[in-house]
């Protein structure tokens, strides 16, 4: 029996959901086999990972707070990237824009933190991070609009410019360098967490950070922006067909610049959230959200609501693996990266089955020849 691939024209929602779920499960099975090979009980590891060590733990609320610290920057960055992606502008410079935003926020925190009230400082931090990251992201957009350069290459290279600038700040002991800890002889970043930090609202012992609330508000705003506003409509048209947008009298260049600025702005905001809760800079400040965000946005197919769901899942993997690493010392927390990759590939495979189906070739046909 021969098989061949045939296009499906409709796939019911339940089938889609099942296929995606199957993909995630297969990825976990794959990881499980690897864990077995390392002599670790997969079930024990996974239960530790997915509960993030909260079960049977007296300070479970702490785990939740820490998990949300991973979730917030990832969700905001993914949502921000989806804005640009929806316009088919391949902004893979999330890392760089995040770093620029983080430096800007830290600058405000160091300079204004000791003099201004905390609330004002926090607002200024967010604004500074948004503007700086926005401008930094716009560089690639301006070059694309003016000279037709490839935004993928430009944003990629700008990532390294930002990263090495941050490294330079972190390793240069000098009088002007207020980012470093003055008391230390070795160059290490100074902590400003005592002067400026995003407030948390206590719910019992658990502290609900302001950033978490803002993240959800932002999600709703972006959803509405993309779906119901004129600007969101323009993004959809430009992304679908720039020629058509031009014919309809849209100012395509303006729309590209505006959207990329906005996308980078929000990534800056994610950085401000991160810096404002961590209270310190670090060369690992991004936690790879610029990269992971791309995966999240794609897995969610640019759907804002689904982005939150996927961010929650990926955040769980990332944070859970660090927790589990404390118990299972032979499994490094980068195990999460492997799982994340496996999930991505298998979800893509599921996508194939959503779009196509495999059927056997039928033999022969009725013989009613026409002469």
């Amino acid at each position: 029996m021969r098989l061949h691939v045939v296009k499906r024209d409709h796939c019911p929602l339940w089938k889609k959901a099942c296929l995606y779920l199957l993909a995630v499960l297969s990825a976990l099975v794959l990881g499980g086999i690897l864990l077995l090979a390392m002599g670790v009980d997969p079930l024990a590891y996974y239960s530790r990972m997915f509960t993030m060590g909260m079960v049977g733990n007296k300070i479970a609320y702490k785990s939740m707070e820490n998990y949300l610290k991973v979730f917030v920057p990832l969700a905001v960055t993914s949502v921000a990237l989806s804005l640009a992606f929806k316009m088919r502008f391949w902004n893979i410079g999330g890392e760089g824009q995040f770093i620029v935003g983080a430096i800007a926020a830290a600058t405000v925190a160091f300079q204004a933190g000791p003099v201004l009230p905390q609330g004002v400082t926090l607002v200024l931090m967010c604004l500074a991070a948004m503007v700086c990251a926005g401008v930094y992201g716009s560089i690639a957009a301006v070059l694309k609009v003016k000279f037709g350069t490839n935004e993928t290459l430009m944003t990629l290279m700008l990532n390294y410019v930002a990263l090495y600038f941050l490294t330079f700040l972190g390793e240069t002991k000098a009088d002007w360098n207020f980012y470093l800890d003055e008391t230390s002889v070795r160059p290490i970043f100074a902590n400003f967490g005592k002067t400026v930090s995003f407030p948390a609202f206590p719910i019992g012992k658990f502290g609900l950070n302001l950033c978490v609330i803002l993240t959800f508000v932002l999600g709703v705003l972006v959803f509405v922006y993309l779906k119901y506003t004129k600007q969101g409509y323009e993004i959809a048209v430009v992304g679908d067909s720039a020629g058509t947008a031009h014919y309809a009298g849209m100012k395509v260049n303006t729309i590209v610049l505006r959207t990329v600025f906005l996308s980078a702005c929000l990534i800056g905001l994610a950085a401000a959230f991160k810096v404002g809760t961590a209270g310190i800079l670090s060369t690992a400040i991004t936690d790879d959200v610029g990269w992971t965000g791309i995966i999240v946005a794609w897995l969610a197919q640019m759907n804002t609501a689904v982005i939150f769901l996927v961010s929650a899942l990926i955040g769980m993997l990332r944070y859970g693996s660090t927790v589990a690493a404390a118990t299972f010392s032979q499994v490094d927390s980068s195990f999460a990266n492997m799982l994340q990759g496996a999930i991505l590939f298998l979800v893509l495979a599921a996508d194939f089955f959503i779009r196509f189906q495999i059927v056997p070739v039928k033999k022969g046909g009725k013989a009613n020849g026409n002469g």
Partner: protein
Amino acid sequence: MAQQPNAIEMRGITKTFGSVVANQDVNLTLRQGEILALLGENGSGKTTLMNMLSGIYKPDAGEILVEGKAVSIDSPQDAKRLGIGMVHQHFKLVDVFSAADNIWMGKEKAGFRLKKDRYEEIRSMAQKFGFDLDPEKKVRNMAVSEKQTLEIIKVLYYGAKVIILDEPTAVLTVQEIQKLFGVLRRMKEEGHSIIIITHKLNEVMDISDRVAILRKGEYITTVDTASTNEQQLTEYMVGRKIDLNIQRPVVEKKRPLLEIRDLTIRNDEGAVAIDHVSFYIRGGEILGVAGIAGCGQKELCEAIAGLRPIQSGLMIHKGDNIVGLPPKAILEKGISMSFIPEDRLGMGLAPSLSITDNMILKNYASAKGPFVDRKGGREDALRVIQELEVVTPSTETPVRRLSGGNVQKVLLGREIKAGPNVIVTAYPVRGLDINSSYAIYHILNQQKQDGVGILFVGEDLDVMMALCDKIMVLCHGKVMGVVHAHKTTKEELGLMMTGALDLSNKYEDKPAGYAKDTNISAQELEQLQRQREEKGEEE
């Protein structure tokens, strides 16, 4: 001949794409040394059926016999080995390669090194078949008809006995079509069997020996060309009687709506695309624009819509100069432009967006506040779907899921609903079947009767001669003359299109393309004169 096995026999072929049945139990027989026309409307499965012969698709069911032997064609290489060659509607050529290299590319035992003698080999082969081809010429420098010749030579080079041509005449002028038919007849005499896909009936009658008809994926019948006529073929094709006459209602003439005077436009490469062109459109009139593809039609349309800057000249709409106005302002004056490009979706529509979203494309900005008005868009979509009989599951269906005719109805429907007074439309029936085409002509005629001035850029001369009031012929950006559609002939238009005949100075009492009752003010003419003088000084 009867003893010889058939060149091709397809039995009970079925092919489905998802739930869409492209071919249902189709039978087709191609005899040795005949020209078989495969006739059918768009979406009737002609191309799908042929793609199964050329190894691009595989049938879900049924069998194919080549010279009496059952075969399985799994790839284009298999088809090549069996002596089946196909010239696709969209040429499969590498632009930056020479003609010879495009042919060599597919050779299986070509060796590692490119040898110089390949040019000679291909040149002599082309001469043997009686083609005129420069093997060293790059494809990107070729005219459409040259590319087609190259495709045919490519097929012959690989020893094809059966040649399939998918709508070969769509891109050719009248003279080029005659030349192609000459080539086909010669190939037939040499023993080749030919299948030609087309939906132009006069061509079917002209070239074919037999006609096979498909309708909605199903095989209808095969008839001898000699014993049939256009009316009967149409009935087979459409499934019911249809009136093949295009109406040309007579409408009282109004003052010129849009006047173009001495317009010069450059194309994207900076070459002159439209060269000192003057014409005018009155309300209640359809002015056709004929010309070989790429003669400045696109640039002209874009300039009128404000999408392309002009070099010099005047564009006067109801007495107002529209030169330099942004596209939106021109839209608001009631000038609508729709251009159907070759891929049919590239301009004017956003294919992944819904019909509703496409409806609001040109007026979304006029809604109050920051939000788009989808409710109004949905109402417009419903109205267009009803009035123009668009076949769609709902108003929220992405446009790319609709069939060609429905896509174009949506586009034209949107343009008309805005209530324009000038419609510039380029290739509105491009690739449409008879039914949909007539629906579009009907829409245009209704607009004309409502007093709208229409500029109709078209390809099919028969249609233009029947539909338009006057036809302007362009050749390399220059006007070759404006003729009355009911007085001209296809041959005359063809000669003008190639530049062999220039009727632009036929009437000596007034310059060509100037309206007697012009709306252009003396001041504007003065300005134009000054422009000319400045240019004169430069030169």
